[in-house]
């Protein structure tokens, strides 16, 4: 028999014990990002101006294509199934250009991510840009971080109500403008705007504007960082694209730790003191509500605002910038090893500084050469290859095409003089916005002659036809060959089409069917 005290006890806590269990649903904790100042913030303002400018202005740019095509620079004409991009016009069967551009966008994103991390997320993603814009409004109406926290905590008052209404109204106006701009890509912008305002636009236009207004308002104003953290798949995919040489926003704890707010006191007491003064400026400006000093994390969109915030603090206390900086994992690890003497000790700031207090020459910094790695070169090669392929296809593509469908029922007809006739539906594609005279010629098939339904041509080897600008011309063509010249049940011949000027041509290999005949 054992005494209870003799029974071995375990130092164990139930992971799912009722005392520590977390609820499945956690309410969003509000984030009040402080306004940041600095070079990255400036860069982001510029990017925002450019991207929003492109988005809002593009549909209003005009491009003269002559009298037979719309004069809108960028137009997705769904009704007529044409896509216009300045001098380029794309028909539905040329959609591979769009597919190619999407592939390029994919490779471009891989390339960007493997070199400068989540730059797409931090600077150009529409979610980031619009949240930034919404935050500008929020700051203008409610004030900066502290004022907003105070207002949020305050009981409802006329002032609070007015500010909230003003903020949401401005957000809604931006949202309507965003949704509104989208539809201008699909119709003549000035006409559509007039119709939209006077209530004459198609219902689908209003529905689209309403949906995009809703998504812009909800994603940009209400959900914000939750879209990136919970809805977007890109943060998950990116882990596979980053490697130890990719630049990410990094807290360099090898020079920041141990952090303290009382550096002088600690130094006087003989303790090691890092550069971080624990001012939390980096946390205050973060739109994602994270602390970059916890290390690289899923939520971080690398907007680099914490770099700006920290740099200004470092300037104030007379330390080098870059406590929070774009750094690669490789240089971070090397510097960390320096600071900890290969992991033998805790972080010792003295290890990375020379006697005069400057950062040691042994500290590794980023070099542009690191951009050239097999991974990035392969991405760049793939990206360029697709791009060059598209360019080649674009420069050599046909603007005059012919497609031929042979009649199948009946395959051929015996005429009274014994000659054999086949019917063909000939489709001429005049893919330029100008009328053209196209010459259709029969090549091969000895003795055969064409006649065209609805046209005066009969028994000819070649005829001219007027093609409307930017349209498909369908002709019913009968080809007739004298019986004694029929060389077999299946003969091959060619329909050749040519621009009157001879500049462009296309051909179609067709077959001529006849009965198996004893001669």
């Amino acid at each position: 028999m054992f005494e209870a005290s003799e029974i071995e006890t375990f130092d164990a806590t139930a992971v799912n014990s009722a005392r520590v269990r977390q609820p499945l649903y956690a309410a969003r904790k509000k984030i009040f990002p402080k306004r940041a100042e600095g070079r990255f913030r400036r860069f982001k303002w510029i990017v925002m101006l450019i991207t929003l400018g492109i988005y809002y202005v593009t549909p209003w740019l005009r491009w003269n294509r002559g009298p037979y095509a719309p004069d809108q620079g960028v137009l997705i004409d769904l009704a007529n199934r044409r896509f216009y991009f300045f001098p380029i016009e794309i028909w539905p069967q040329e959609f591979y250009f769009v597919a190619g551009l999407l592939i390029m966008a994919g490779f471009g994103l891989f390339l960007l991510t493997s070199t400068v991390g989540r730059a797409w997320c931090g600077y150009t993603c529409p979610q980031t840009v619009w949240v930034d814009l919404f935050l500008v409004v929020e700051r203008a109406v409610e004030g900066d971080r502290n004022a907003r926290i105070k207002l949020d905590g305050a009981p409802w008052s006329t002032n609070k109500l007015l500010k909230r209404i003003a903020k949401h109204l401005i957000w809604l106006v931006i949202a309507v403008a965003t949704g509104g701009a989208w539809i201008f890509y699909f119709a003549d912008a000035p006409t559509l705007l007039r119709n939209l305002v006077t209530g004459h636009a198609a219902p689908v236009a209003y529905i689209t504007v309403a949906i995009l207004t809703g998504t812009t308002y909800v994603f940009g104003g209400l959900m914000r960082e939750q879209v990136c953290t919970y809805m977007c798949p890109w943060p998950r995919i990116q882990a596979a694209m980053l490697d130890e040489n990719s630049l990410t926003v990094t807290y360099n704890d090898w020079r920041g730790e141990p952090r303290t707010r009382h550096a002088k006191k600690a130094a006087a007491a003989g303790q090691a003191v890092g550069d971080c003064v624990d001012c939390n400026a980096c946390v205050a400006v973060c739109p994602m509500g994270i602390d970059i000093r916890d290390g690289q994390q899923l939520e971080c969109i690398t907007c680099a605002l914490c770099i700006d915030a920290c740099d200004s603090v470092m300037d104030k206390i007379g330390k080098e910038r870059g406590l929070i900086a774009y750094a690669t994992l490789a240089e971070y690890q090397s510097n960390m090893a320096l600071a900890t003497m290969g992991g033998a000790s805790a972080i010792d700031p003295h290890q990375v500084r020379d006697a005069d207090g400057k950062l040691s020459g042994k500290v590794e910094t980023f070099h542009v050469r690191k951009l050239l790695r097999p991974r990035t070169l392969i991405y760049f090669a793939a990206w360029s290859l697709v791009g060059l392929g598209l360019l080649y296809a674009l420069l050599t593509r046909d603007r005059l095409q012919v497609n031929v469908l042979a009649d199948r029922n009946p395959q051929f007809v015996v005429l009274s003089d014994g000659s054999i006739r086949n019917g063909y539906t000939v489709k001429l594609l005049n893919m330029i916005p100008e009328p053209r005279t196209i010459i259709v010629t029969l090549r091969g098939l000895p003795g055969a002659e064409m006649s065209v339904v609805g046209m005066d041509h009969s028994a000819v080897r070649s005829f001219a036809v007027e093609a409307e600008p930017d349209r498909l011309k369908t002709l019913k063509v009968f080809v007739r060959q004298p019986r004694e010249l029929v060389a077999g049940p299946t003969q091959h011949f060619t329909f050749e089409v040519k621009d009157e000027s001879g500049a462009e041509s296309d051909r179609y290999e067709a077959t001529f069917d006849a009965l198996e005949m004893s001669k």
């Binding site: 029922n409 009946p410 007809v413 005429l415 009274s416 014994g418 019917g423 339904v453 609805g454």
Partner: protein
Amino acid sequence: MSDKQIDEFSGVSTTGHDWDGIKELDNPMPRWWLIVYYATIIWAAAYVIAYPAWPLVRTATTGLLGYSSRGDVKAELDAAKAAKADYIKAIGSKSVKEILADEKLRVFAAAAGAAAFKVNCVQCHGSGAQGSPGYPNLNDDDWLWGGKPEDIQQTIAHGIRYAEDPNTRVSEMPAFGEMLKPKEITQVASFVASLSNKAGDASAADIAAGKEVFAQNCASCHGDNGKGNREVGAPNLTDAIWFYGSTPAAIAAQVRAPKHGVMPAWGVRLGDTTVKELTVYVHSLGGGE
């Protein structure tokens, strides 16, 4: 049963149901779920008032909006009819020749004719209008009654040997089996086959004798040289196209006891406009004159 208590772990009341000691928590519904639930109730009530909903003995409630799916179909059909109205009117007022001269009208009429053909004509003439023995191929350039637009229109409108239409096209080849000797029938068949080089092994003497028989009995309708006569629907016997077969035996059978096909008159059944559309379609198949 109703033994409600507070669950000691979650602090939530139980429903009071107890299955072998397992109790069910009475958690409230999520708010978003309730909102959606109430919204569907409101939607359902509004729907019942606005749209047809309650089945009655013979009919159903119509709803305030007066909606019906038949109404939708009618509106769509009316819109389709209205869109075609101008073309239909133009086809009704113009002659087939005028229609053929107007490209847009011709294409429209040919498409409409093709649709009417699929419903009314393919049973005999085939889906590609290629015909079969006894039913003419409409793609070729051989016409019993003429291949001009007005000829085709007349044939479609009034039919062939169609007793109920006084203006129908009529022709009847006598049954020569009772008038000619079997030998003469074989000879004349060989002669007719020889007109298109299909006489086979018939002797020159037989063909010469057949020519004699032809001149006496057949030439009045088929012409001295066998080229036929469209006035009376007598086929051209010199071409490559044969209605009931081109072998001497098939020709002999037709001489002995001719088959006569009947085509109904479509003018009354389909109306003038549809007949014109069919005419344009048939004319555009490649053999139109």
